[in-house]
Symmetry: C4
Subunit: 289 residues, 4 copies
Amino acid sequence: MTSPTWHGGAQAVVTLTFDVDAETPILAAGRRYADHLMTMSHQAYGPDVGVPRILELLAELGVPATFFVPGWVAEQRPGLAATIVEHGHEVAHHSYSHRAPTTLSAAEERADFERALDVFVAQGIEIRGHRAALWDATRVTLELIAEHGLAYDSSLMGDDRPYLLEVADRSIAELPVHWSLDDWEQYAYLPSPQIGSVIESPRKVLEMWTAELDAMRHYRCLFNLCLHPFLSGRPSRLLALRSLIEYAQASGGIGFARCRDLAEAAHSDLSLPRRTPPAVSADPDVYPD
Amino acid sequence: MTSPTWHGGAQAVVTLTFDVDAETPILAAGRRYADHLMTMSHQAYGPDVGVPRILELLAELGVPATFFVPGWVAEQRPGLAATIVEHGHEVAHHSYSHRAPTTLSAAEERADFERALDVFVAQGIEIRGHRAALWDATRVTLELIAEHGLAYDSSLMGDDRPYLLEVADRSIAELPVHWSLDDWEQYAYLPSPQIGSVIESPRKVLEMWTAELDAMRHYRCLFNLCLHPFLSGRPSRLLALRSLIEYAQASGGIGFARCRDLAEAAHSDLSLPRRTPPAVSADPDVYPD
Amino acid sequence: MTSPTWHGGAQAVVTLTFDVDAETPILAAGRRYADHLMTMSHQAYGPDVGVPRILELLAELGVPATFFVPGWVAEQRPGLAATIVEHGHEVAHHSYSHRAPTTLSAAEERADFERALDVFVAQGIEIRGHRAALWDATRVTLELIAEHGLAYDSSLMGDDRPYLLEVADRSIAELPVHWSLDDWEQYAYLPSPQIGSVIESPRKVLEMWTAELDAMRHYRCLFNLCLHPFLSGRPSRLLALRSLIEYAQASGGIGFARCRDLAEAAHSDLSLPRRTPPAVSADPDVYPD
Amino acid sequence: MTSPTWHGGAQAVVTLTFDVDAETPILAAGRRYADHLMTMSHQAYGPDVGVPRILELLAELGVPATFFVPGWVAEQRPGLAATIVEHGHEVAHHSYSHRAPTTLSAAEERADFERALDVFVAQGIEIRGHRAALWDATRVTLELIAEHGLAYDSSLMGDDRPYLLEVADRSIAELPVHWSLDDWEQYAYLPSPQIGSVIESPRKVLEMWTAELDAMRHYRCLFNLCLHPFLSGRPSRLLALRSLIEYAQASGGIGFARCRDLAEAAHSDLSLPRRTPPAVSADPDVYPD
């Protein structure tokens, strides 16, 4: 009898993840932007127009997904998280306010982290995993994840396969991400706050992600795709996503999983490496502040 | 008998819009640029060379368009607005000075808004709609549109189909825009003031917009294309626009409309959602200034 | 008998121009960069490796070109300008130091302009035309061109066909340029001083310029291509330029000219528009400093 | 009998070089980033995941390479340099800390340079060549290379073929690099410290490098490719590299060499030009600080 593996025998595993940030990344850059109506409406498109279309697409194709939702967003749009769960998908922790943890004190980060948990408890949404705002995790982030008994984090980039992080006597499954599998660098553009530059064509993005999926099948990796409904919910980008999923389904040998299910499989995979969080010591005589 | 719809039965509606900004976005960055002759000539190309070619192209293809003209530009080039109207197109309000409303006080914005209206009244140009400079509308912008009885705004991004905005006891049709259907992010480049980075090929832009048009037909949307004569008036970009229009015409099921006509249809469409302007409340204990 | 035309009956005219800037744009950003050896060597590649290959390519294809050389560069590399002229090409004025005229006082600009003329007089190089450093011409620039009896300028963007500029009782032929026909936005990259972002593929650049050439034939324009030997002198970029020239030669109906010859034809073309330099008046009550 | 040539009769020579920077470029931007776990893990991917895959790929294809390793990285990962050498590749000097030499005093640069040499001596790694951090060499850099008897430098851009640099009575082979043959401008992206913009597709990068290889065969050049394991070690980028190498192998007439072997051939090639380091004198009356 063989022990269970994180990939369940698939050549590559796809986790479709949607960061439902809505207005939060902009407010984190300054609450004055609340008066910039175009900018606010640009962000609201995500939960209001993008998410329903995404849910429809996922249902049609029969694939599961994980939605990382800031607590603030779940609070502002009370039915949102429940609707996602009712469609069979996972809702996971994405901070309360979407401020970067590296810009917060430990106490601020704890308050933000726990406030989001409170929102989800109040809404009856069970949380099993976490992704840091801007992926910008600190050691405190990992300790909070461990302390609150979550099964996984999905913010780091040290590998392209899951691994186990040893934090404070507990083990967290790390489901690594990467900028090249994020729609933000391809599609995002706003003049104020200044975000992005040239807007890429969905054809280029589809071609790039398809190549990465093929290569990840070769190297047996986790294809952990990070999408934002306010970006990838736009019509031609959504059809490009449909093409990508259909390509993966037709390829064979590729599994689709919610992050929580993948994390469970990772915890059961005895061959998975166990690591400690990055702990780099930089000599002040060599490196500037 | 069926009630009228905003799309008139088309699968997608195309509004070709041209923001005839000329020198205004540069002067808004600093009037010292008036002495930078290359920069001024770069902008003047729009009304002086681009607009005549665009009018010729639209006539040849038999499609209507909307030209958003800052009052300052109409004032500086007295025959411009009238010529556009004589060609059967619409001239609409695009502020007086092209300064972003979010950078103005309410009094300054009102003065700027009404000064543009005065220019058009003096030129006998009837104004039915408005687009904020840089799309950067405030609540004041919407109130001014309502107060002056305009039929529509075209500055927000909360949807990709028209909807009705309830403002001060009146209803404004919102014809939403988006960065991905704007030629600025693809083509604009100036070193001082610093604008843009890499200049994209018209082939890429045509491919991207064609894909969005196809996808918008799938989702039955408004393809609200925003072009700048100083950018898209250049030869190969204009021929790419010609290809896009011909593609749309050959596809079938796609309507072309001036914004004012689309706004009128939207006001008559009883099924259209009625919304209030974005009103985001950002907690000062959470979000920085 | 028909009067002479600027295009001599061609559908489009190609002026191949090479701005032999060498180290000057970097030194203009700060003379401290003189100690940055990589950066200096990056720039020196232009005259040292790029120019000889370019001369060889032009000879092989039998096409003339114009080389805009800063006086400082001609001074530092004494044989450079003469070699270019011996190959049948034109050497033209490109300032002495490549500092942007908009950053200089009128006296500084005059000193810089005349110092370059002195260098070329000393080297026996006859100068007929001028291009401002960074194309960033001022009213002073045009007055200096007129005062010194040069036949043309090639710095402005208000058209894509030659026209005549009336300056101080004289007439200057303007041979307009544009960012989309400049290799700088496509290829340039340096971290310090920070220049450029993504480096584009010569295939994309060739495709874009070929499309513009075709479209300019349609609109009967001047294809005024601006190249930098330190950029376009690199192997695959040079072969892309070869492909472009061969495409133009094979297309038929396209003329090649040195700028001075084109300027002479422009002065003889009685149908050419006569304009005054851009003179934009920006109201200080409307526009900020 | 013919004298030996740097290219050994090949039409072009390929040096595959990998800058194993790991965390150093980020720490050089500020040691506070040591607490940014995502950023640190993004960099650690290079030596931890990228390098083993690269070694496997090179072994499979039977091509040699050169790994430029900062002393700090070799120190932090004790087995790394030895493993590279055991695979038949070269380990070369890439500073200790990856701080740009142009930001250091002469004494600081000397200390950094020699500290790296000490690390390699202690690990029994023989060093024959050097590449400056960020390629940002100073005159001091070249003097240190000469003083310590290294055979080559690979940081400058004044040519695309090897040449000899005369420094302090010694001769250094310069193996020139260029931004267009660097994966950093194509793939790198980080928000903090801010690096890069749009992330390019490996297909575009492969197409661009293949064209440059072909053109360099035409001009008989050194194709000195600079890759970073944390960037090019990602799955689809690595497969693009495999395609490039296979293309070069199938083309015929292309040699592969370690830098040290190429440098040795360069020193034996009597026809190679002998130059002095760039020494640009910038007049303080003309150029600003």
